[in-house]
Amino acid sequence: MKESHPTIMSGPPGTPGPAPGWSDGEVNTSADSLALIEGEGGQAPPQRPEVAPTRRRRVPLILLALLAPTALFALALTILPLGYAVVTSFRSFRFGQPVAFIGLQNYFDLFRDSNFYRSLGTTLTFTIVATTVEFILGMMLALLLKEEFRWQGLIRSCLMIPMVVAPVVVGIVWRLLYSSDVGLLSYGVQLMMGHPISVLSNPSLALPAIILVDIWEWTPFMFLILLAGIQSLPQEPFEAARVDGAGPWSTFRYLTLPMLRPVIVVAVLIRALDAFTVFDQVFVLTQGGPGMATEVSTLMVYKTAFRFSQFGYAAAMAVTLLILVLFLSAAISRSLQGQVRQV
């Protein structure tokens, strides 16, 4: 934030630098207009040329004009929908019945809905397992590949492919691998076990299969962020550790890990939040099946709203999820930051 402060551009042509009292001109409009009256009273200090007042008065207007479109969009398509989601969650939308205000009834129903808890459990399992494995794999890769090597750029580009490809296409890629008719994976399983299995229609294998897809897609993300973080660490502490004869594990435990913590917090937070609201790959691969084995929360909201037209109930679910996301992100950043103090 520091560098954003001295960047004031209100200086009129010819002024060598902002005069005292000028730097706050944009916000402090009342003081500004006072100065303006003074100026018209003929007591203007010599370093304020006559063009100054008009220019200064125009600045907040420009500022407003520059910010207005973005603010309007954020208001209309983020803040307003959030409010409307809460309002909708107090309403009953049932087919063939008029929309009615029903207070907290949707929430009461939701908290008694065992399917909701089940999908929440599935989502949490998915999030925790996927994020943890991705973090560990990404960290290992980053540590082992941190030094410059040949074709680094090319290799990094190749590793980036899974996360750049559309999630829907990732779904296709893995459908082809998992399919019992044409799949490479299931052929391998057939060689080992003697009979083919259809991974995605097996209730106990479907969720691990989807977690594996997520790991394939997002480990490169962890790797790239952690690599960038590791490469930007100062070298002196590591040289000192080497001189003192520190082994690789203690160097990692007492130097890399603590110094990397801010990067780790960001990486884990982003990954966990995205995993918590996973939708595309699950939609393409299993549609939540078999049964409810892979019905993650976002998919449940989608089905409730757009297959069963229960918009009120879906909105209550969505609001609950949003609150959970806020708690989740607070918990993650707190627990990771808490470890900083320990070390």
């Binding site: 200086g11 899974p162 003192d244 989608y302 949003l322």
Partner: protein
Amino acid sequence: MENPPPVHLSKSKSHRHSSWPVFRLLLLVSALGLTLVPVYWMINTSLKTQVEVFASPPTLYPQKAVLENYVSLFTRRNLGAYLLNSVIIVAGSVSLAMAMGSLAAYALARFHLGHLQERISFWVLATRMIPPVAIVVPIFLMLQYLGFINKYPGLILVYTAMNLPFVVWMMRSFFQEIPVDLEEAAMVDGATRLRSFWDIVLPLAAPGLVATAIFSVIVTYNEFFFALILTSTPAAATLPVGTAALIGKTQTLFGEMAAAGVVATIPLIAFALLVQRHLVRGLTMGAVK
């Protein structure tokens, strides 16, 4: 900081040195293999004939490479229409977001706003963190009220709003890297603020503009959740929605499914290679440079 625990000068050190490159090479090769083989399998399948797709054991490369799957996609499955929709919607929303977001970013980078500055920055980040699922129901109801379901403007509006926080955040950091002196000099020479923004700041920030735009293009082009809910027919549906519908329709036509995946991916790979360097910065909203 604690002192590092007592360390033993390991005698395995020389041993480690000799095995290190080999181990690293193995690791690198397996990481690359695990990443690329699934993608290769999709390309491989897309070039096979309908018969060869089901060959057992599966053939590792097409015995007779054919383009029939690709031809069928465009002649029978409307993929061309979906592609066109995607291009229009991505171009529309990214240019809108770039235009409005750059202006806002410039304002945030150049004007002193006191407390408001931090509050706006917080809002920009917060809107990025709100999961789509939290607002999808009201957005659907609002756009339905406006008659924008399964039409271009609906998705363009939503994607513009989706890209704006990111554009503002990225462009603000790019604008801050441009020295103020240059603009001051121009304004001394009589340029207005808008003129100095247009003639001096924008050209200097061009690499940043390009990187931000390309990144937004990738994210928008891939977006599926809102597209699925707000569009449905070839009249407005984007490529991911068309592809997903294809999966439902074709079921066992794995060749066509794979070809659709390849078609949807080719433009992206080209774009991603262009912004390779900026990709991490973009993914983390600049938290890591």
